[in-house]
């Protein structure tokens, strides 16, 4: 045996006593199955004739290679409508949303963390809530208020109050999409920037002051540069999230044929031109990768956020005569983003006949009413409706299973990544688990659709099965749970496991008795947050659910399409109740993290 072979051999024996190596390999297999293979399958489908293509051209030879789909998307008569215009819409809405959300979030962060504005604590409790709600909650509330005759069903409050139809530009398209999604995404900036602001030691600013700098100069020269990386990050990440979101652009854009890439992916799938959808998904993924790469490049080493140690003290900027105006501004934001929309939604569910906002029109029919042929084609109230209760059960089952599976996988990833720190295998696992982050939700759904519509080898077609929905939710939430798994594993110092090794405990024993109990404590809030994320998920699963596997979110979607806004709103209210209680539970359980 050569020396290097012996070294390798010994290392292998050693690693078998510390099974992060084996675990890393298993995780890589899992990642390959959940992410890599579906992605490759999707690429393949874009370049191969599909059965569905026979309807479009006779030249199609299903199964053979072709550039047909690419040409159709990028350079044909249809390109403008099926690709370039939606692409432009995606970019313009995402840019406007990121900008507005960043401004609102940064302002909120500063007001709540660094000023003497009254009622800061009270407002802070609700500041993150818009982000916890399903992203299209505001879109539904918006429709309740501004809807005009263009789509079916009753018209909104606006028309009731003013007696004239809402102009289209206000009811649908760019303006409402940007406003509602900005209100949804601003907490993301708020969290990042307030984190950065909290970590600034006031001494940094005070030394500036001692040197004679004015307050404005301190804000501009010291505070702002320290917070800048967080600002840029939140802008970029909001952009990539907005790009992949489906619900809001669909509810508010489709009525005026304002399509984004995310909504064309959906309509191309339903119109049975999947290859076109896959190419759009691919473009979304590329943009997303580029954005996140840019974020890494720009921020990279520039993160000045110092970990808060002891002895930090903060001084609040006195707002003087602006104290109350600032408070009203912040309170108005919370009202607009949380309370008014929820009030509208709840009110809608209590109205027997649409468009009649008088008190005598109030009813609990859509919650608990029995089926009567006179109303909503005889559908009973949601708490009696078997379909909805079934969907609710599906939602909860899905979210619990996904939270548990993803959370456990996260712990395993954390173990493999932390124990193997510095080895290429661990690096591969760590980086690999962040891959799903690069794929926008709707594109993820499209990828899974392309892979699992047909049987693969001995595996039956998974399309329509609960397993498939679980898989996609798990894959999508993996980066988050990997991050929380790694951070909680880093807390469990290597020596804690090593002392159990010296005591002679087998690996299973070490994992069960030491590692799991210690990381679980740190992971429970992570579990709850994945539960929340899955509970409100629409973009990811809309392409994959069938009547058997439908969830509350997809039921909402169906009711909106059919124009039953009371039902849609009632279900949303139900989701909001579950999700918000989950959020407060997570807060009680542990530190705040973002999903």
């Amino acid at each position: 045996m050569t020396a290097s072979w012996r070294t390798f051999h010994n290392r292998l024996r050693f690693n078998l006593t510390q099974p992060h190596l084996v675990m890393s390999l298993l995780l890589l297999v899992l990642l390959t199955a959940l992410v890599i293979i579906p992605f490759i399958q999707m690429l393949h489908d874009t370049a191969v004739w599909q059965e569905a293509d026979l309807r479009i051209t006779r030249a199609a030879k299903p199964g053979e290679w072709t550039t047909f789909h690419y040409l159709r998307v990028f350079s044909s008569r249809l390109s403008k409508n099926i690709f370039y215009r939606p692409l432009w819409h995606s970019l313009e809405t995402s840019l406007a949303i990121s900008f507005l959300a960043m401004t609102l979030g940064a302002l909120m962060a500063w007001l709540l963390v660094r000023t003497d504005m009254p009622f800061r604590r009270g407002i802070a409790v609700f500041a993150v809530i818009p982000y916890v709600l399903p992203s299209y909650t505001l879109a539904l509330a918006w429709l309740d208020f501004f809807k005009n005759e263009r789509i079916g069903g009753a018209t909104g409050v606006y028309q009731y109050l003013f007696g004239v139809p809402t102009p289209d530009w206000l009811a649908y398209g760019f303006v409402p999409i940007v406003i509602t999604l900005s209100l949804h995404y601003y907490p993301f900036t708020y969290l990042l920037v307030s984190g950065a602001l909290v970590s600034i030691d006031a001494h940094l600013e005070e030394s500036g002051e001692v040197l004679g700098a004015s307050r404005l100069a301190i804000l501009r020269r010291i505070t702002f540069p320290i917070v800048l990386p967080a600002l840029i990050s939140s802008f970029i990440l909001t952009f990539s999230r907005a790009l992949g979101t489906f619900g809001t652009p669909y509810f508010l854009g489709a009525p005026v044929r304002y399509f984004t890439l995310a909504t064309t992916i959906f309509s191309n799938i339903t119109n049975r031109t999947p290859a076109v959808a896959y190419i759009s998904a691919l473009v979304l993924i590329l943009i997303s990768i580029f954005i996140i790469y840019a974020n890494q490049k720009i921020i990279g080493s520039k993160s000045f956020v110092t970990i808060a140690g002891k002895g930090f003290h903060h001084r609040l900027t006195p707002l003087g005569k602006f104290r109350y105006p600032a408070m009203f501004l912040a309170a108005a934001l919370i009202l607009l983003a949380v309370f008014i929309p929820l009030f509208l939604l709840v009110w809608q569910t209590l109205m027997l006949y649409p468009n009649d906002y008088s008190l005598k029109n109030l009813t609990l029919h859509f919650w608990v009413g029995k089926s009567t042929p006179a109303l909503a084609e005889g559908e009973s109230g949601i708490l009696r409706n078997l379909q909805i209760l079934g969907a609710a059960w599906n939602s909860i089952e899905l979210s619990v299973i996904v939270a548990l599976l993803t959370g456990m996988t996260g712990i395993f990833i954390g173990y493999a990544a932390v124990k193997g720190r510095g080895t290429w295998l661990a690096t591969l696992v760590e980086q690999g688990s962040f891959l799903p982050y690069l794929i926008p939700s709707i594109a993820f759904g499209a990828i899974y659709l392309s892979l699992f519509t047909n049987p693969i080898g001995p595996l039956p077609s998974l399309y329509g099965s609960f397993v498939l929905v679980v898989m996609v939710c798990m894959a999508k939430n993996l980066p988050f749970s990997a991050r929380s798994g790694i951070s909680s594993m880093l807390q469990v110092a290597g020596e804690l496991e090593e002392s159990a090794m010296v005591a002679g405990a087998s690996w299973q024993k070490r994992f069960r008795k030491i590692i799991l109990p210690l990381t679980l404590a740190g992971s429970i809030s992570g579990f709850v947050l994945v539960f929340i994320a899955t509970m409100r998920e629409l973009s990811l699963i809309i392409l994959l659910v069938t009547p058997n596997t439908r969830t509350l979110t997809t039921m909402t979607f169906r009711y909106v399409e059919q124009g039953y806004s009371q039902f849609a709103d009632a279900i949303i209210v139900l989701i909001v109740l579950i999700v918000v209680s989950g959020e407060f539970l997570a807060r009680r359980l542990g530190k705040r993290e973002t999903v």
Binding site: A3, N10, F14, T17, E498, S499, M501
Partner: protein, 368 residues
């Protein structure tokens, strides 16, 4: 029989050589300290003996049994080596009570309930932890956590104790207390102990033998007394002792049958050893061995008092001569103020002579 034997053991981390072809034997009942600056490889040696780190090359034997051999492909896992280990961080499991922490190893071995309880209670009692059984580590003081870590090691009755800087997280007062505790523990149990520290006082106080390491290489293996009094090279000389030993570069000259050590500032007595003459040398003398007088006695070297640093029972005096600055330790008080002139005396039998290039000790030679 040596209870721990290390033969030509090497370990690299990437490009960095942590341990370089180390040979070391720890005899039964010995208290051997691995001493060295941080990054010298001492912790790696301990971890390789425990089985927590795998050497690239070499052989490790514990009580005659080979637990690692790169040539034969032998690797015995940590739990089967019969060693006990105390970490710098104590590594107490925060989710287990004191009792559960100590009992864990016995549970793993499948010891029955009644014996387990007796043994855990005995070892807790021994470490004066009675009444703490139900507490969690976070509810204990640093010293108590340290005791739990020791109790956890003792309860499994290992034949070898391994301790990795166990006292460095304690404050100065507790550290003194725990030193006594560890010394008594070794004296009573007679267990072979390998102790890692960067604190020379700890090494000199506790050990029967000190192994000084630097850059992965063993520099000297000797009793504490010899390590301090006759460091085998310049690294050890400079590393051991506070304030540090005085190092004076120069050469030995022979003129008219007389030999003396000389540089541009001073002349010292030198032994009539042939090996020293004509070489570039470094003369070394401990701070407490330099004698100071006011009047110019015969052979006294004049210098200026640079600073006076009283430290309770002793005083550290710094005296400047040319570009040389001497550290001198004296008990009690000194009558001299800063800036005054004093005379220094260097007794020949306290001076060590080293090869300036190789750093090796040339005189006095080993007396065995």
């Amino acid at each position: 029989m040596a209870w721990i034997e290390i033969e030509k053991v090497s370990k690299k981390f990437g490009q960095v050589t942590a341990v370089d072809r180390l040979n070391l034997a720890v005899e039964a009942g010995e208290f051997l300290t691995l001493l060295g600056p941080s990054g010298c490889g001492k912790t790696t040696v301990l971890r390789m003996i425990a089985g927590l780190e795998i050497p690239d090359e070499g052989i490790i034997r514990i009580k005659g049994e080979t637990v690692f051999s790169s040539g034969e492909g032998i690797f015995v896992p940590p739990g089967k080596r019969g060693v006990g280990l105390v970490f710098q961080s104590y590594a107490l499991w925060p989710h287990m009570t004191v009792f559960e922490n100590v009992a864990f190893g016995l549970q793993v071995q499948g010891v029955n309930r009644s014996e387990l309880e007796t043994r855990v209670t005995t070892s807790l009692e021994y470490m004066q932890l009675r009444g703490m059984e139900k507490r969690y580590p976070a509810q204990l003081s640093g010293g108590q956590q340290q005791r739990v870590a020791l109790a956890r090691m003792l309860v499994a009755r290992p034949s070898i104790f391994l301790m990795d800087e166990p006292l460095s997280n304690l404050d100065a007062k507790l550290r003194m207390e725990m030193r006594t505790e560890i010394k008594r523990l070794h004296w009573e149990s007679k267990a072979t102990t390998l102790y890692v520290t960067h604190d020379q006082n700890e090494a000199l106080t506790l050990s029967t033998k000190v192994a000084v390491m630097d850059k992965g290489v063993l520099q000297q293996l000797a009793s504490p007394k010899e390590t301090y009094g006759r460091p085998s090279n310049l690294f050890v000389a400079d590393f051991i002792g506070s304030p540090t030993i005085n190092l004076i570069p120069g050469r030995v000259h022979e003129e008219r049958g007389e030999v003396f050590f000389k540089n541009e500032f001073l002349t010292l007595p030198a032994p009539p050893e042939g090996v020293l003459v004509g070489k570039d040398l470094v003369a070394a003398i401990r701070p407490e061995d330099i004698r100071v007088t006011v009047q110019g006695e015969r052979g006294g070297i004049p210098g200026e008092v640079y600073s006076v640093l009283p430290a309770g029972a002793e005083v550290i005096l710094q005296v400047k001569k040319g570009s040389l600055l001497f550290n001198i330790r004296r008990m009690g008080e000194v009558p001299w103020g800063m800036g005054e002139e004093v005379y220094l005396h260097f007794p020949l039998d306290s001076i060590l002579f080293y090869d300036r290039g190789k750093g090796t000790l040339l005189y006095p030679c080993r007396e065995d």
